[in-house]
């Protein structure tokens, strides 16, 4: 028995050594060369302060999110990426499939596709998982028009790299987005005058939440292109469009359209220095039976990585509320990031919020860490 065990151990050791020494090494050299997916975890610990005394979340330091990932190839030129998240939402932990998608890397020349529950490729930031963003919160326009969390409906998208002498990609998707669930009092209506002078009768914003997001059958497209301006700079321009319904369609009967434009300019003056200038503008149009609401929002973000370990950034947000009662929010943020390793960062952010003249100061502290070979599609 002992001899058999020694023989098997020896055989395993020799075959493992042969697998490592011979032939082309495994792609990316991640994980172990066994038939296992890349398994990883991202953890986010956050502390939050606010000058708003009624804010129940202030003064807390807690684990705010855990994201686990299972990633790997399921077939030649097909891969699966599943991200499961457990995150704090209005005081309690909720689990959700953050993303679960199958990618067909090449259907035809330049053509690829993704199916599943996917962070919608609308603008620059919605697609990025929170831990990959260079900020702790998200710009007000994303929260106001796409939802408190990234919009990640179920469906599919086709992506086509255009045969042009520069990077240009066109994509179109069809989706089914789940509306947020909350109680709505349909009797609570009002006639309001919109910015264009029309009178609109609408169900007022429910007291429980101010969430709005696109939902139901959604159709999207995005066109983005990128140009290297020099060896150390790159400009990306994009436009996005979404057509669908509002998340409380049963009450508001709102057909919505969301149009967006974005630009990102990156300059790399040296190996570790990088200046990023990024902005997104969105216009939300909600057509209700008696009228039309049009709302605008944007953010402008600048980030300066001045060393291997440090980033500083500033962001300005402007967003009009998605609801009939017109509201305007202007936020000013300062962000500092210290990178401890490739996967572990410490970040602090201060934000001054001006919501219709009501002013609040907020501050966050965040520790993000990674375990294992975690990766996201090119963002």
């Amino acid at each position: 028995m002992k001899k058999t065990f020694i023989f098997i151990s020896l055989l395993a050791a020799v075959s493992a050594a042969m697998a490592q020494e011979g032939g082309t090494p495994p792609q990316g050299m991640r994980g172990t060369p066994a038939n296992l997916p890349d398994i990883s975890m991202i953890g986010v610990v956050e502390g939050y302060l606010s000058s708003d005394k009624s804010d129940e979340e202030k003064g807390k330091l807690e684990f705010s999110e855990v994201e686990t990932a299972f990633q790997g190839y399921i077939y030649p030129e097909m891969r699966a990426d599943v991200f499961l998240a457990l995150h704090k939402h209005e005081g309690s932990y909720e689990s959700e499939i953050c993303e679960a998608k199958v990618s067909f890397l090449r259907l035809a020349e330049g053509l690829s596709a993704e199916l599943g529950k996917i962070h919608l490729d609308f603008g620059k930031l919605n697609r990025a998982h929170t831990h990959t963003r260079a900020m702790i919160d998200q710009p007000a326009v994303l929260t106001g028009f796409l939802g408190a969390h990234a919009l990640n409906p179920q469906g599919g998208t086709l992506k086509y790299l255009l045969p042009l002498p520069f990077y240009a990609r066109l994509q179109a998707g069809a989706w089914d987005g789940a509306p947020h669930e909350h109680h709505v009092d349909a009797e609570n209506t009002a006639d309001v005058v919109d910015v264009d002078g029309s009178t609109v009768t609408v169900v007022l914003e429910p007291g429980e939440t101010s969430d709005f997001s696109p939902a139901g059958k959604l159709y999207t497209w995005r066109f983005n292109m990128s140009f290297p301006l020099s060896a150390g700079s790159e400009l990306e321009l994009g436009t996005s469009y979404l057509k669908g319904k509002g998340s409380h369609y049963e009450h508001h009967r709102d057909d919505i359209r969301l149009a967006g434009a974005d630009f990102t300019l990156k300059l790399w003056p040296s190996a570790y220095r990088r200046l990023t200038l990024q902005s997104e503008y969105m216009r939300l149009t909600r057509e209700v039976p008696v009228g039309k609401l049009e709302r605008d929002g944007l953010y402008a973000f600048a980030n300066w990585r001045f060393s291997k370990y440090w980033d500083i950034g500033a962001r300005f947000d402007y967003a009009e509320g998605a609801f009939p009662a017109m509201s305007r929010e202007r936020d000013y943020s300062l962000i500092a990031t210290r990178r401890l390793t490739e996967t572990t960062t410490l970040r602090a952010q201060y934000k001054h919020v001006n919501l219709d003249g009501g002013k609040t100061d907020q501050a966050w502290f965040q520790l993000t860490f990674g375990l294992g070979p975690h990766s996201h599609e090119l963002e």
Binding site: T24, Q27, R30, L161, R169, E234, K266, K308, T341, L378
Partner: protein
């Protein structure tokens, strides 16, 4: 005239695609140089990273996707160093470049690796590479293996040019042998020289030329230096007689400068890839520069 034009256009349209130079995208400028040497006029190589960049931290850009989409072959450093390349290859959707496809070349295949971790590997050891130290190109002898891998890839794509690639490989290997002998001769007087390096990127170079690395500015790979670590390193440098600190040109100079001030050691900021510094046009220049700088610094230290 019209007929001639039509015939010319027809010939142009039906001429096989392989008549054009192969487009090769490489992860590093050193690989680009070697590709150029092996492929000659049959190859048009482009490097995704510049020679002045830290290959651990190259930021994928959309324009790189475009370059990979057009490429016939990709050559990577491998061993986890250029993981950023995976998302680019996937985004490009170029069937020729997927893992295992004829146009996929990992230059590290067959390189005898140093520092292959045994047993458990985790982040307490820093940003460690689980398959071994990936800075293998800093041993010039490994360039033969890298060139051989590239040649194999080129022969897969242009079998009819095999003789040319083999002849170019032989010329490259011969020049490499000659240069390596010269560098070894010049470095023979420095055998046993004790040095400190910023990152653990010089073990292949040190092993080739008989240098002894007594410590690193980083306490562990990828971890920024701390005051206590630097103090400890000062003691070690003094006790072990390390008088030279070798750093890549892109690493911060604060830590090495602190050590130099406390120990009197010389700081050498050396390029580690072609194009990584002034006068470092190709792969061979990387070693010319390093050997010359070490000779000078060791001479002054004596």
């Amino acid at each position: 005239m019209k007929k001639t034009m039509i015939i010319f256009l027809f010939m142009l349209a039906v001429s096989p695609a392989w008549a054009a130079p192969l487009k090769v995208a490489t992860a590093s400028t050193d690989l680009k140089y070697i590709c150029g040497r092996i492929g000659g006029a049959e190859v048009r190589a482009e490097s995704l990273a510049s020679g002045a960049q830290d290959l651990h931290m190259v930021e994928p850009r959309p324009s790189m996707v475009f370059r990979l989409k057009k490429a016939d072959m990709v050559v990577r450093v491998g061993l986890d160093l250029d993981m950023w390349l995976d998302s680019l290859i996937n985004a490009a959707g170029n069937r020729a470049l997927f893992y295992g496809a004829p146009g996929y070349v990992d230059a590290s295949a067959g390189v005898p690796l140093l520092q292959k971790p045994a047993g458990r590997v985790d982040a307490s050891m820093g940003d460690i590479h689980i398959y071994g130290n990936p800075h293998y190109w800093l041993d010039p002898a490994n360039a033969k293996i890298m060139a051989s891998n590239i040649m194999t890839g080129l022969k897969r794509l242009r079998p009819e040019k095999s003789d040319l690639f083999e002849s170019n490989y032989a010329a490259f290997a011969a020049e490499l042998d000659e240069r390596l002998a010269g560098w070894a001769e010049r470095m023979s007087g420095l055998k046993g020289l004790r040095i400190v390096t910023y990152h653990d990127s010089w073990p292949y170079f040190a092993a080739r030329f008989g240098l002894v690395v007594v410590g690193h500015v980083e306490p562990k790979p990828g971890i920024p230096p701390t005051a206590s670590h630097l103090e400890d390193l000062v003691r070690r440098m003094k006790s072990e007689g390390a008088r030279i600190i070798v750093s890549e040109t892109y690493y911060p100079s604060k830590g090495p400068d602190f050590l130099a001030e406390r120990t009197g050691a010389a700081v050498l900021a050396l390029p580690v890839s072609a194009g990584g510094g002034k006068g470092v046009a190709d792969y061979f220049d990387v070693f010319e520069t390093a050997v010359s700088a070490l000779e000078t610094a060791a001479g002054k230290a004596d």
